[in-house]
């Protein structure tokens, strides 16, 4: 959403992934699809270890997440309880100026 959507010219996308996929794996796939502009806005560095940008908040199934869960399997139930969907929002803040 916001400046991130403008930068990659996409507001919404659907990805199919195997059960147990981690958030990092998902972000890597999105970066491969949308390029460095996505990576820059989501990861703090271009090279490992890649922590998340502090000003881009990521919500997984309604919960704000941070570096601590980057390598954990994504929880499902995004569209409704019991579903295998994962609903993820990206919302970058900007300091302005």
């Amino acid at each position: 959403m916001g400046p991130l959507a403008n930068a990659i010219r996409t507001r919404e996308t659907v990805l199919a992934g195997a059960a147990g996929m981690t958030l990092r794996e998902l972000l890597d796939r999105l970066e491969a699809r949308y390029g460095a502009e996505f990576g820059h806005r989501v990861f703090r560095t271009a090279t490992p270890p890649r922590a998340l940008q502090m000003h881009t908040r990521i919500f997984v199934n309604g919960n704000a997440v941070d570096d601590a869960v980057l390598d954990e399997p994504l929880s499902t139930g995004g569209s409704e309880p019991g579903s295998s969907d994962v609903l993820i929002y990206f919302m970058p803040g900007a300091s302005g100026g």
């Binding site: 400046p3 919302m91 300091s95 100026g97």
Partner: protein, 860 residues
């Protein structure tokens, strides 16, 4: 039975309503006495630690803002297409629907073309509430948002250094335990600003207790007049004095806290001959030299017994030295005698103050609080607007803060405290919870921050995408290039692919709050369309196309007037308090809360999902309280979710409206957190080397250059442009100071404060040293011209005083309004900012702080 009022009529309502002041950004807790719908008195709320029932003169006078007959009451549309200073816009009253329809249509068009063409401008006076407006910018997709005047005037330097060294927006002495406080250009506890009223009480009690207070400042006013000692200093030279004091501590007196420096700073990190850290080849972590083992180890190796602070060690075939050793050597050339020539403060005084500060710190001592033995360093060095308001603001604040760091007086008992860098949350919910954490190289990053971008680690510099170039200067907050004389030149050189078309303003009067009016007027003239939420028509309004009548702080809801706690919640031991701001008077005329309007505009534009997610980010909402992107909400609903998210369902908005504030005790490990949190702070800013090189690599290709000294890892005194004026006719330094009676230019229309200001000898006059004036034949009360070396002029009456440096010209606040729409303010005082140049040359190339002094001459 209803009691009779003074007119013999029955009183139907007689209530005290808890809320929060916002006549400055201190946000002190208040309660308003409302009788039959009319507010008849405002006083402090004794139930809240944000003031403990105390309130300043400005807060008391807020009632005059509420009922000011010159308020804007209806939406207005300009009819005169010509814009400019003094050009009558030809205001015509329109309906809200007409106003919102035009604004929405224009914004939809801009968003479709390029959302970066929208600029959002907010006032610093109402921060942090005004930052809510940035969420609209996030949702809209523009990077062009700024606090007009804020940042470039108040804290681009101080806030960044506060964040890097104290995980906080600003710092104060631990008033409860500090025995020796030295203030550099600060008035914490003696004037306006962050947690102003609580700090006044704490500072007064500290002085009664015997805290010695030394104020280094060109003018002896709010803080200095109550201090034990005033040290007049040449404007903009504080870094030189601080560096000389650090030199005295380290090289003359040998006073430093080795244990603190080893465990809580990067002082032991080894530095290679090229200035960068020696690193472990595998992990990339900085190395320290373990004296006991006789070998280099990573800084976080638990087996390190004794990390060296001094000496030279061979690592990876290179001679490396600890950062502390380099600091000690660096300051050797900064003798008190050297500093005397720059500052005008005698070497003996500098040496004496350094000795007093070092002795007062009682390095090595401990104290038991709440059964816990803690480091006890009852000395603090404080800096703020006066010291940091210069081109070299980053090094000035860094140099001053090194005084705290070398004696270990940082966020420990008695020392310099950041404003609440640690909070473990309310006992029932554990929220809000934040703690600084170790980031790159084990160095501290704040647990919470006022803005999305944290000060450390700095982001990778990038080719600029915003009008202000903050992507290129990641240690900046706010950029003067948003309204600078040379902005077009830089936009062209950096191929900025768009130009601003529309400005959405919330309460800022940028024509007065940034710099000289001609430059700002020129930048405003570039917008096709300006819409502005305002309480009063002002100088900026002359450039607006639509004016929207805003509700004042006494008419609106805000669920978090004092959060983040690092901004305006009192620091030190005591109670946590989370008050709300709520309407204490009904909205009249056609005034509306700008928050509600903005939310409505977002929904009207189809930006609901983005706006709701931006609000989720701003308020930290998730889980059951997360705003559903698919729904619409009123601002009351958003506020209710924020409060329930932090304090549980039983503490909802209705509970807060009745009680006003929730409180709980602070824990010793929250207040004096430094021993409890495994983080280090940098006394050697190695990261500046790489950062500066990366910025230079981008900037130099476009002809933007800067002195590499600004990016040196150790602080240096660097002159302001004013110090380099060679023309002997310009022999004085003009500066402004924050008047305790006013909040920038915002309160000048308030009749009560105007009355007090007319009784005050300085509020509306120019302070000039008596002897300086005598040599020029100027007498007390004379009208004079202040003319800058760049040819800008302001006029006013002088007040002669011994309480100003002989080379200083002191002007209070942001006065000198010329708009006829503020008849109380019109023509009162002196418009200092008109002397300021607004361009890259006068801007700090690290944090984009604007230089706030001018070399001038004074003539009758």
């Amino acid at each position: 039975m209803a009691a009779p009022n003074g007119k013999g009529q029955a009183v139907r309502e007689d209530r005290w309503i808890p809320s929060a002041c916002t006549i400055c950004y201190g946000g002190c807790s208040i309660r308003a006495h409302r009788v039959d719908g009319t507010v008849v008195k405002i006083e402090g709320n004794p139930a809240s630690p944000v003031g403990n029932g105390k309130i300043c003169a400005k807060g008391l006078a807020g009632i005059m803002l509420l009922y000011d007959p010159n308020r804007v009451n209806y939406p207005l549309r300009r009819t005169n297409p010509k814009k400019g200073m003094g050009v009558d816009p030809g205001w015509k009253r329109i309906t809200w629907e007409e106003a919102l329809e035009e604004i929405t249509v224009r914004m939809e068009k801009i968003r479709a073309e390029d959302p970066r063409q929208l600029m959002i401008q907010v006032t610093t006076t109402l921060a942090p509430s005004s930052l809510l407006f940035f969420t609209f910018g996030w949702a809209f997709g523009t990077p062009n948002m700024w606090v007009a005047g804020g940042g470039i005037h108040c804290g681009n330097g101080a806030h960044a250094v506060g964040g890097i060294m104290h995980a906080s927006w600003s710092l104060v002495p631990d008033f409860k335990h500090c025995n020796y406080a030295i203030y550099f250009g600060a008035s914490k506890g003696h004037g306006a600003g962050h947690a102003s009223t609580p700090n006044m009480e704490l500072a007064a009690d500290a002085r009664v207790r015997g805290m010695r207070m030394v104020v280094v400042d060109p003018i002896c006013n709010f803080a200095a007049s109550k201090a034990n000692e005033w040290v007049p200093i040449r404007v903009g030279t504080d870094a030189a004095m601080a560096l000389a004091m650090v030199n005295c501590l380290l090289n003359e007196f040998g006073i430093y806290d080795a244990e603190y420096l080893k465990s809580k700073t990067n002082g032991p990190y080894l530095v290679r001959p090229d200035g960068t850290h020696a690193r472990d080849p595998q992990s990339g972590k900085p190395l320290v030299w373990d004296v006991a083992a006789g070998m280099a180890k990573t800084h976080d190796d638990a087996s390190v017994k004794d990390a060296a602070l001094l000496g030279t060690y061979t690592v990876n075939g290179e001679a490396c030295r600890p950062g502390f050793e380099l600091l000690r050597e660096h300051v050797k050339s900064h003798s008190p005698e050297w500093a005397e020539k720059i500052t005008g403060v005698s070497a003996a005084t500098i040496r004496r103050l350094a000795r007093e500060f070092g002795d007062a710190a009682r390095v090595g001592s401990t104290i038991v609080l709440d059964g816990v033995r803690l480091p006890y360093r009852p000395a603090a060095a404080i800096y703020f607007r006066g010291a940091q308001g210069h081109k070299n603001s980053s090094h000035i604040c860094f140099a001053i803060d090194l005084l705290n760091q070398v004696v270990g007086a940082a966020d420990v008992v008695g020392g310099a405290l950041g404003f609440n860098p640690v909070c473990h949350g309310h006992p029932e919910t554990g929220r809000p919870r934040y703690v600084p954490r170790a980031e790159r190289d084990g160095l501290m990053t704040p647990g919470t921050w006022m803005l999305p971008h944290l000060p450390y680690p700095p982001a990778e510099p990038r080719h600029p995408d915003s009008m202000g170039f903050i992507e290129l200067f990641p240690l900046s907050h706010v950029s003067p290039l948003m309204a600078s004389a040379d902005q077009e030149q830089w936009w062209q050189r950096f191929d900025l692919p768009y130009r601003p078309k529309m400005l959405l303003n919330y309460g800022a009067n940028s024509l007065m709050s940034v710099g000289n009016k001609e430059t700002v007027a020129e930048t405003l003239g570039k917008f096709d369309f300006i819409a502005s939420f305002d309480l009063f028509l002002n100088e900026f309004s002359d450039f607006a196309d639509i004016i929207l009548p805003d509700a004042s702080y006494l008419e609106v809801l805000d669920p978090r007037p004092n959060f983040p706690f690092i901004f305006n919640h009192p620091a030190g031991p005591g109670m946590w308090g989370w008050p709300i701001r709520q309407p204490v008077a009904p909205l009249t005329h056609e005034r509306r809360s700008a928050r509600e309007v903005l939310l409505g505009v977002a929904y009207r534009m189809g930006l609901g999902p983005e706006m709701n997610m931006a609000l989720n980010v701003f308020y930290g909402l998730d889980g059951p309280q997360m705003l559903d992107p698919k729904r619409t909400y009123t601002f009351e609903e958003v506020a209710d979710r924020e409060l329930q998210h932090k304090f549980g369902p039983e503490h909802d908005l209705a509970w807060f409206k009745e009680h006003g504030v929730i409180t709980w005790p602070k824990k010793v490990e929250e207040v004096y957190w430094r021993p409890f949190v495994d983080v280090r702070v940098p006394i050697y800013w190695e990261f500046m080397i790489g950062l500066g090189a990366k910025i230079r690599a981008i900037a130099a290709t476009r002809g933007m250059t800067f002195d590499p000294a600004y990016y040196s890892p150790l602080p240096e005194w660097l002159p302001c442009p004013a110090h380099e004026v060679k023309d002997p006719r310009y022999d004085l330094y003009a500066f402004y100071y924050r008047d305790v009676l006013h909040t920038n230019g915002f309160t000048m229309e308030n009749p009560w404060l105007d009355e007090a200001s007319r009784m005050d000898p300085y509020s509306y006059r120019i302070a000039l040293n008596t002897e300086t004036a005598r040599r020029r034949g100027i007498r007390d009360g004379d009208t004079v011209w202040i003319e800058s070396a760049a040819g800008r002029r302001v006029s006013g009456r002088v007040r002669l005083t011994e309480g100003i440096h002989p080379e200083g010209v002191g002007i209070a606040a942001c006065a000198g309004h010329w708009t006829r729409h503020q008849p109380v303010a019109q023509g009162k005082g002196v418009f200092f900012n008109d002397l300021l140049e607004v361009d890259y040359e006068h801007t700090n190339p690290v944090n984009l702080n604007l230089d706030l002094c001018a070399k001038v001459r004074v003539t009758k």
